[in-house]
Each structure stands twice: as C-alpha cells, then as structure tokens.
Amino acid sequence: MQFVYFASVREAIGRDSEEFELPHDVATVTQCLDWLAESSAQHKTAFADRAKLRFALDQQMVQGDADISGAKELAIFPPVTGG
C-alpha cells in the first residue's frame, strides 16, 4: 500500500510517501497506524497524538475505523487549515 504524508506528519516522518506490503491482519486505518508506528522512531512520533490525525483512503476522507481492504493509497495528515 502507498502511504502519503502531508504537513507536520510529512515533516515528522521525513518523507512525502512510502510503500509497504501490509500483514494480512492489518484491516483498518487505525491498525495501519499501529503497524507503521513500529517502523521507525519518526513514525512513532508522527502518530503519537491520534486525535490530531486525519485520513484519506484513495483520496476520500475516512475515520480511523475505515476498512482498508482494496485501497491503494492511505494519506495521513493533520486537520486541514486552508482558506
């Protein structure tokens, strides 16, 4: 699965995007985060405050309990501040 990061999440992780093959038991967005958090100290820090994270699965905004099956891309970012 392709992971893309924006704003403070991108800066904390130190990259725009990365690709991982997920274990089969990772079924939701929240489980993705739990799994990714183990991949580096930067990921752990970036995902520490879950209340400050928002998600888009294949470019649709979703909640943490969203099912990721079939999705190609998960975007992880802080609450939006445009306008």
Binding site: V4, A7, A56, Q59, F77, P78, T81, G82
Partner: protein
C-alpha cells in the same frame, strides 16, 4: 458552470467575476480571503494534496449548486508561498436571487476550511515557521451547514 482551480499564480477577482455576471442570474456573491497582517507573520505557505484537493473543491461546488440552485460557482485556491497582504482564496456564486448566492458563498468558504486538504504554515520575521492549528470555531461553522 463550475470552475475550480488550485494555482500558485495570483488571481484577478474582476476577471473571475465577469463570467458569473453573464450567466443570466440576478445575483453574484464573492468572498476573497487574504493573508492578514497578524503579529510577526510575514508570509504563509500553503501545502495541498494534488488531485484530492481539486476533487474536494469540485464536490463542494456541486453540493452548493444543488442546494441553492446556482447558475455558477467558482473556487480558486492559491498554494505555495503567499506574502502578507496577498489573496489566498476566492469563492464566487451566481444565482437568480441574492439570498441563495450569499448563502452558497458562505457555505463554500466555511466548508472549504474543514473539507479541502490544504495546510498552512506561518513564516515569521525571525525565520521561524509553524504549522497553523485547525480552529474549533471553523469546525463549528462548517457543521452548522449540516
């Protein structure tokens, strides 16, 4: 007629309003958001999610068009570095009547603030730069539209 653009370039408010004024409606409303002088902020920087941004702006414009029976809606958002005093965002609507055009214009800017994937960083005089925190008041206003 829906127009959605994400661009680094300046936009010309007069040129953007002209096509909306020619749709045959009796009312055109617009809103321009400007990087405001605020403490020691000298510029802001806008990051976005290419592809998703345009789609989310288009969806908002379509929702507004249906809800208020608009003849046209335009949403333009700049990205990249924007100096204090420069325009950031432009929203405009055309409808037969003023109440619809004005309500739809408010809706578009309120919902854009919470639904479109943009992130704003403030650059300060001393070189520091901080990501702007999302405001609870913006969420409350967006939710008021149901």
């Amino acid at each position: 007629m829906i127009t959605v653009r994400v661009q680094t370039e300046f936009f010309d408010v007069g040129a953007e309003l002209t096509p909306l004024e020619k749709l045959g409606g009796g009312a055109v409303a617009s809103f321009t958001g400007i990087a405001r002088q605020d403490g020691d902020v000298v510029a802001i920087e806008l990051e976005h999610f290419p592809g998703m941004t345009e789609a989310s702006l288009r969806k908002l414009a379509e929702q507004a068009t249906e809800r208020w029976n608009l003849l046209g809606a335009t949403v333009i958002h700049r990205i990249g570095r924007i100096e204090v005093g420069e325009s950031i965002v432009f929203v405009a609507t055309c409808s037969d009547h003023r109440a619809e055009a004005l309500a739809a214009c408010s809706y578009l800017i309120d919902r854009l603030k919470t639904d479109a994937p943009f992130w704003k960083k403030e650059h300060r005089e001393d070189g520091r730069a901080d990501w702007v925190e999302a405001k609870a008041s913006d969420n409350a206003r967006a939710e008021d539209w149901g």
